[in-house]
């Protein structure tokens, strides 16, 4: 029984991943169940058993999109806020599900049907920035709600443009540059010097030996 449930969860996951890839390649509108049948090798019946409609699949993809996965407690809350963005930049090119969620958010038809996860990302960032502010880690004029909102917008657009440019820039490096551009006007001076905005930080945070201490140390 447990084994059958596990198999069902794996199948469900593989359907979502295949649909995510389709959304990325052709967009929400042009993604069809027929193409999904071809791609997964599953029957229509099996697909419909897990997701009755394409809409249900899109909701399933979006539900995975907001995650604190990989964020470890740090000395400075502002570092955790930076980690949120660096981790997502590292994971996005490697995880079709995350890229599909961004795609569904920028697609006008899909957005009209499902909304976006941007408000959740903004809330997540704002919570961390409010804590950082309370601890005196931010410059006095920095407004957590505004910075959280602008950062989610900037992050999203930098990802889109990076992906579209012929330069084949690394997203982790580009997002690291974005934080390096913004942070001097956000972090108090003492904290700024201690923040790690390396594009390699996310890999260390997610790595098998990762823990808060190791991740806090600069790469030497």
């Amino acid at each position: 029984m447990a084994e059958r449930q596990e198999r069902a969860i794996r199948t469900r996951e593989s359907i979502l991943e295949a649909m995510a890839s389709l959304f990325i390649e052709v967009g929400y509108e042009a993604a069809t169940i027929a193409a999904l049948v071809e791609r997964t090798g599953l029957t229509r019946g099996a697909l419909y058993f897990h997701f009755p409609t394409k809409e249900a699949m899109a909701r399933g993809v979006l539900a995975r999109a907001v995650t604190r996965e990989g964020i470890l407690p740090q000395t400075h809350k502002l570092q955790e806020w930076v980690d949120l963005g660096l981790l997502l930049a590292y994971r996005l090119p490697r995880e079709p599900m995350l890229r599909a969620a961004v795609q569904l958010s920028v697609d006008p038809r899909a957005r009209g049907l499902f909304g976006t996860r941007w408000p959740d990302w903004i809330d997540l960032g704002e919570d961390l920035l409010v804590e950082a502010k309370e601890r005196g880690e931010l410059l006095p004029h920095a407004v957590p709600a505004e910075i959280a909102r602008l950062a989610v917008g900037a992050w999203t657009g930098v990802q889109l443009v990076t992906e579209a440019l012929p330069d084949r820039l690394d997203l982790s490096e580009e997002i690291a540059r974005l934080y390096q551009l913004i942070l001097p006007n956000v972090a108090s001076i003492g904290v700024l010097a201690k923040l790690d905005t390396s594009p390699y930080r996310a890999e260390r945070l997610l790595g098998p030996a990762a823990d808060a201490d190791a991740a806090g140390k600069p790469l030497t």
Copy 2:
């Protein structure tokens, strides 16, 4: 003859505007010539006379998207770079053609067919930032190519998120905040104090009595 040509230009323009609105509302894929016939009141024959395909219309929309319109010579080149972004933020909610061009750039199917105008925007910004750098208006560590690229990404994403959020924020105000966040790490100290990043600046630049001097003065 001249009158007939003028009428043809106006018809061409109204077709592009109607198609731009359709792209915004339903996306590239779902926009149909049938819907365009209904919206413009023109016959299929008349539409095809001006644009043989939907692809041709999309190219027409994208061709209008990059413009220095409204940018006037300023004491500081960095101000002209800021004006580029403020003007676009002011015009975008008022001009479906510009919004449609952004939409076509973020749509994976349309982007695959037509590419995006982001490289042109980045070039335009980089030219201004290189001049600003040569005049000593930038901080020593500021790299024009990187800042131009990050700003186009950030601008695009802030626009997308602003449009999608339920908060109904004003795009000009939000983009002004974005520049206020970035500029302290771009402009040399003396120049920073003299830059105008007011959300009302674009309106003044485009206003009937606008000239370089008037636009350069703060609103009193």
